[in-house]
Structure formats: structure tokens, C-alpha cells
């Protein structure tokens, strides 16, 4: 252990500078949230006032209610919640299974297959979005399509078109594989000796042990899908299938942007994520530390 031989004055100065730096960084991170809050509580006239309004004269709390009256923001939030939840459950199961298989099972082509999955990380979503759109539009026997996938809209404008692209991720598979590899191999053998079948070994032994990694994947994915804009924009066009990010665009038309309502909506949309991080931060920190991953 290092022993600090410096004088008390030196130590205090050093500590003071450290706190100053931390406070400065926190201010930079929190500044946008403060601006969003001020704008959400302002009257339209105060938005572009000069000098800027540090705190509105009369906070307009009713802006938060108006968000739901002016647009179908409630519906959009529900849609987002459904899509993010189902895709997160899917990812936990599918990526968990895939990670377990790649880490603990032996089968021909294991490495090649894993490399192929990893390679998809290098393909940007913008490249695949059009083929994905065509696939979903040509989905057979759905949305008025015949068996060959023509004649209708397929699964466009439905939940599946928003969920399927996020039902499994290469990143999650990679993370789960790395985490599962850290868990001892002989638990498989012990469980096999104890008469557990292959799925029970995964479900009862490895999945509970992989909880920290699953928490990380679940939270990262939920956040990512919650904030997703491009896929919902391309896959849906009807008002009842709006998600938060596309619904936010409703607060702007060709001439004006309703900044106060937009900012209020942004704040509302953040609440579930903030709650999730508060509840899950213990798992998240442990998971990130154990799997050596950053968001």
C-alpha cells in the first residue's frame, strides 16, 4: 500500500481539485437534462428568449399532460414498451442459448459459425434495412400476401416487423459466450452425471449463473430498442404503430417545432429507462465488471 507522506495542505488541495473536476464533468453531463427540463416547463415565448431563461417564471406543468392530448403519445409509449419487452425476453433466451452452445457444447463448425455471427457486427443496419423491408413486405400469407409473398404488405405495420430485427443480436451472443466460458466446464459433467438433460443443464445451472451478463444484455437491449428510430420509421407508417422516437417527430411540422411539448415528451420517455437503471444498476455494474464490456 502506498503511504501518503505529503502535508495536509497539499492533500486537501489535491482533493479539492479532484472534486472540482468531478463536479465540472457532472455539470457537463447534466446540462442537457437541465435544458430539457427548463424548456419542458416553459411557455413557447420563453424558448428563444434572450438572455436565456434559467428557470421559467411560471412552470408549465400542464405541458406534460398536453403531450398526451395533442398526439397519441400514450399509444406510442405502449408500443415501444411492448416491442422493447418482447425483444428483450427473446434476446435473453436466444442469445443465452446461443452463448451457451458456443461456449459449452462441441459440434462441427462451431468456430466458423461463431465467426460468421461476429462478422455481422461489422455490417451496419443501414445496409440491411432495405432487404429487411423487402423481406417483411414479402412475408408469405400475412398482410394480404399470397403464399409467394406478393399482393399485400406482409408484416409491415405490425409488432413483428418491429420486434423481429431485435430478437437476437450478435453482440449479445458474443457477450453470453464470453461469460459462459468463464463458468466452470465441469458443472456440465456434474449435471450430466446427476441425470439432468441438456436443456435442464442450461436452464437450471448456467442460466441462473449467467444472471449478471443477462442483466447487462437485457438493459442494453431494452435501451437500444426504446431509442430505436430507423427501423420503426421504415417498417411502420400508420399512426397506431408509432413508437416513441417516431412519435416525437409528430411535435414538429413543416413550419414549426413545438419545443415545449417535444421536451416534455422527451422527459416522459426517459422515465422508464431511468427507473430500469436504478433498479438494475447492481446487476449492471457486476455484469459489466465481470464481462469486461462497456455500453
Amino acid at each position: 500500500m502506498n503511504v501518503d507522506y505529503s502535508s495536509p495542505v497539499m492533500r486537501l488541495t489535491r482533493r479539492g481539485l479532484l472534486y472540482l473536476a468531478l463536479i465540472g464533468m457532472s455539470a457537463i453531463i447534466l446540462a442537457p437534462f437541465y435544458i430539457v427540463l427548463v424548456l419542458a416547463l416553459s411557455r413557447s415565448a420563453e424558448v428563444f428568449a434572450w438572455p436565456p431563461v434559467w428557470w421559467p417564471a411560471v412552470p408549465q406543468w400542464q405541458n406534460f399532460l398536453e403531450v398526451f392530448e395533442v398526439t397519441a403519445f400514450g399509444r406510442a409509449m405502449w408500443n415501444t414498451f411492448v416491442v422493447a419487452s418482447i425483444s428483450t425476453i427473446g434476446i435473453v433466451i436466444i442469445d443465452g442459448l446461443a452463448g451457451y452452445a458456443f461456449a459449452k457444447m462441441r459440434f462441427p463448425g462451431r468456430t466458423t459459425m461463431f465467426m460468421l455471427i461476429l462478422a455481422t457486427l461489422m455490417v451496419p443496419v443501414h445496409v440491411t434495412i432495405i432487404p429487411l423491408f423487402i423481406m417483411f413486405r414479402s412475408f408469405p400469407l400475412a398482410g394480404g400476401n399470397d403464399i409467394f409473398g406478393s399482393g399485400g404488405f406482409g408484416i409491415l405495420n405490425t409488432y413483428p416487423s418491429l420486434i423481429l430485427p431485435f430478437l437476437a443480436t450478435a453482440y449479445g451472443t458474443y457477450l453470453m459466450r464470453e461469460f459462459m466460458k468463464m463458468l466452470p466446464d465441469n458443472l456440465v459433467e456434474a449435471a450430466r452425471m446427476d441425470g439432468a438433460h441438456e436443456f435442464a443443464i442450461f436452464w437450471k445451472i448456467y442460466l441462473p449463473l449467467a444472471r449478471p451478463a443477462l442483466a447487462v444484455i437485457a438493459m442494453f437491449n431494452f435501451t437500444a430498442v426504446w431509442n430505436e428510430f430507423l427501423v420503426p420509421l421504415v417498417m411502420t407508417s400508420t399512426a397506431d404503430m408509432r413508437v416513441i422516437q417516431t412519435a416525437l417527430a409528430d411535435f414538429a411540422d413543416q413550419e414549426t417545432v413545438r419545443w415545449t411539448l417535444l421536451m416534455a415528451a422527451v422527459l416522459i420517455s426517459l422515465i422508464p429507462l431511468v427507473l430500469m437503471f436504478i433498479v438494475g444498476q447492481k446487476h449492471l455494474i457486476r455484469g459489466v465488471a465481470l464481462s469486461g464490456t462497456k455500453g
Binding site: 466452470p184 459433467e189 456434474a190 452425471m193 446427476d194 441425470g195 435442464a200 437450471k204 441462473p208 449463473l209
Partner: protein
């Protein structure tokens, strides 16, 4: 059931051509505690894992009871395995760990609880049942691992170096404990270890393995007193047997074995016995095996002693290691290091002094073929009124 476990000419070749086990034939009787012992990589754990069903066999047959189990799933073989590092499920409590095999077998919940309680009581774990493995000591974890194995009442209990993760003191305690439990449940046990003390103290019989081959199967006394090969002689006994290379020549009924700065005359019935065993041996190159406890150390001023049946060689005492009740002397004879174990705390020889290495009364000698390493003959030094005489010594007869 005539046999508990049998391996019939079992081979294991790993991808890449490594032959871990070569033609193992082992018969384990019901209720027996059989120990597989040998150095690292000798194939003992591979055999255990093949019996467990965790490793596929390349050729041969494995029987558990009267049933060939080559293609039977591990959990259906009626065997249970205690892993070297226990392999407990870290997220389950001791009770849940022990209950897991019963749950997997679909045993009703009402039946699981009493069975877990009974096992816990036998293993003195009752107060630890609610704890997770991380909250248990090494010895307790080992008991949980054992509990998980015996809760299903397996006909065969397989133990893979179960004591190697425990400290020395606990190992001695658990040795007795394991033997007690094995007797109590009446299962056959197959026990793998590289520790020859464990093998000698625990085994009803011992299988000594080397380089994938079964070298010898016998009681601890048999393998100690009549090792079948140089490899067995090296594995069993502590301190290890002295093995000196030499050339044997038979003249009349006697045999003279001569090495680098040592020589030995074997006369009497023992000499004739060795002479017979040497017949047909090309070059007559042999390895003389003698245990440190069968040697004696005498002060000697002369560079070379005058021979006689009791004196083997003379050399320099390199180190004297007091072990408490006995002292281990390391004596250099030519380029060899000869170990002598004496119970007298003071033989009167200090490090750096010249000394004669003599054969102790009743000493047993083992003659091995240098090429094949196989045992050729054994002789024992017998003192009578006429002086020392050698007599044949086989079949582990206690002298």
C-alpha cells in the same frame, strides 16, 4: 452380481493420436474400494471418466454389474462421480445441491427432503444445509459433493482425486472419513489418486498405472512388497525405492550383480532363483531395486568396502534429513543417489562423510529387466547361524 465394474481391454485414443489408455483389464469386486494410482497423465482419470460415461471409449467393453454400459448415458449407469474440484452448483444451497440428482430423476418432492436429511446426517452436514458452496469450508464442500453422489444410492461410487483440494491435515481426516462412509453405504468405490500414501491407506486393492497401461493390480501389501515393474516400484513406497542399473552374471548357483562402484553377490537358494530368472536374458542388464528401509549405513574410512553379502557399496553422505522418528540419508555412490532410511536418530554419520551402504537384516531385493522394466525375481536376506544367506522371495510373504 459377480463383478461390480469391469473394463475389458479398454482403449482410449484422443483425436490427434494420443493414446491415454491401452488395453486396460480391471475387475472390481462388489463392495471393494479400488484405488487407481499413477503419475500425472498415466490414464487413471481417463479410465474413471470412461466408467462414468463422460468419456467415450475407443475400443473394448465396460461393464457395471453384469451390463455392458459402453453406450449407456452417465446418469443411467448406476454410478456417481465426486469431482476433483467438487463441481458444486454455486448458486444452489448445500441441500439443493444434494437434492439435484433426485429432482432430475423425477423423485417426488415429499421423498427428496427425508433422503437429503438422511445423507446430511450421515455426513454431519445438517447445520450447513442452507449455505451456498461459497460459504462452506473445503471439507464441508467435499462432504456436499459426496452427499450429492451418494443420495441416489449408486452401486458404484467414483472418486476423482477427491482430497487433492484439501489441506494436509484435513486430507488425513477425510481419508478415514471416506473409507467409513464407503463401508457404511456398502457401495463399490473406484478412487483415483496420484498420492501413493492415499492409495496404500485407502485401497482394498490398488491398480498401478503408467503411460496408459495397467502395470499391476494387487493389495497394498502385494504392490509394495512385490512390485511387478520398475514403474510400480517408483510409484509405490515413500521414500521411493532405490533403483540401481547393473550387469548380472551367473556362476554356478550364485549370481553377481555389478554396477557403477557397487557389487553384490547373491548366493544360496536366492542366488539360484535369480540365476533361473536370468536365463535367456540378452546382455543380462538388470535393475536392482532395494527400498531405503532395507538399507543400513555404516561408518567407513576405506574408499571401498571389502564386500560380503551385507555390504552393497560405499559412498559419501550427501544429506541427512531428520524426519522425526527416522532419518533419511542421501548417499552418493558413483553418479547415483542412494536413499537410506534409518530409525535410529543418530547413526554417527554426518553430511560429507564417507559411509558404507549395507543391507539391513531381512532386506528384500528386487531384480528387474532393464529393457522391459519387468520384475525378474525377488530375494530376501536371511540371517542364520552360518551367516547371511539369500532365499527366494515372492508372493509378498511377510518375513
Amino acid at each position: 452380481m459377480t463383478v461390480a465394474v469391469e473394463t475389458k481391454d479398454v482403449w482410449k485414443t484422443y483425436p490427434g493420436g494420443v493414446r491415454a489408455v491401452r488395453g486396460a483389464d480391471i475387475r472390481i469386486e462388489p463392495g471393494e474400494l479400488m484405488v487407481l494410482v499413477g503419475p500425472s497423465g498415466c490414464g487413471k482419470t481417463t479410465i474413471l471418466r470412461m466408467i462414468a460415461g463422460l468419456e467415450r471409449i475407443t475400443a473394448g467393453e465396460i461393464l457395471v454389474g453384469d451390463r455392458v454400459v459402453n453406450k449407456v448415458a452417465p446418469s443411467k449407469r448406476g454410478v456417481a462421480l465426486v469431482f476433483q474440484n467438487f463441481a458444486l452448483y454455486p448458486h444452489k444451497t448445500a441441500a439443493e445441491n444434494i437434492a439435484f440428482p433426485l429432482e432430475s430423476a423425477g423423485v417426488p418432492k415429499s421423498e427428496i427432503q427425508p433422503r437429503v436429511a438422511a445423507v446430511a446426517e450421515m455426513l454431519e452436514l445438517t447445520t450447513q444445509l442452507d449455505r451456498r458452496p461459497g460459504e462452506l469450508s473445503g471439507g464441508q464442500q467435499q462432504r456436499v459433493a459426496l452427499g450429492r453422489a451418494i443420495v441416489r444410492n449408486p452401486s458404484v461410487l467414483l472418486l476423482d482425486e477427491p482430497l487433492s483440494n484439501l489441506d494436509a491435515r484435513l486430507r488425513v481426516v477425510m481419508r478415514t472419513e471416506l473409507k467409513r462412509i464407503q463401508r457404511a453405504i456398502g457401495s463399490t468405490a473406484v478412487y483415483v489418486t496420484h498420492d501413493q500414501v492415499e492409495a496404500m491407506t485407502m485401497g482394498d486393492r490398488i491398480v498401478v498405472m503408467n503411460d496408459g497401461v495397467v502395470d499391476q493390480i494387487g493389495t497394498p501389501q502385494e504392490v509394495y512388497l512385490t512390485p511387478a515393474s520398475v514403474a510400480v516400484a517408483k510409484t509405490i513406497g515413500s521414500p521411493a525405492m532405490n533403483l540401481l542399473a547393473g550387469v548380472a552374471s551367473a556362476t554356478g548357483g550364485a549370481v553377481r550383480i555389478e554396477g557403477d562402484e557397487w557389487a553384490l553377490e547373491l548366493d544360496g537358494d536366492g542366488g539360484a532363483h535369480v540365476a533361473r530368472s536370468l536365463e535367456g536374458l540378452a546382455g543380462a542388464r538388470v535393475v536392482l531395486g532395494v527400498r531405503p528401509v532395507d538399507l543400513d549405513l555404516r561408518a567407513s574410512a576405506a574408499p571401498r568396502d571389502e564386500g560380503g553379502p551385507a555390504v552393497l557399496a560405499s559412498g559419501t553422505c550427501l544429506t541427512a534429513e531428520p524426519l522425526g522418528s527416522e532419518t533419511l540419508y542421501n548417499v552418493t555412490v558413483a553418479k547415483e543417489l542412494v536413499r537410506v532410511l534409518r530409525y535410529e536418530t543418530h547413526v554417527g554419520i554426518r553430511e560429507g562423510e564417507r559411509a558404507s551402504v549395507a543391507l539391513a537384516p531381512g532386506a528384500r531385493l528386487h531384480v528387474f529387466d532393464e529393457t522391459s522394466g519387468k520384475r525378474l525375481a525377488g530375494v530376501a536376506l536371511q540371517a542364520d547361524g552360518m551367516g547371511a544367506r539369500w532365499r527366494p522371495y515372492e508372493n509378498a510373504d511377510p518375513l
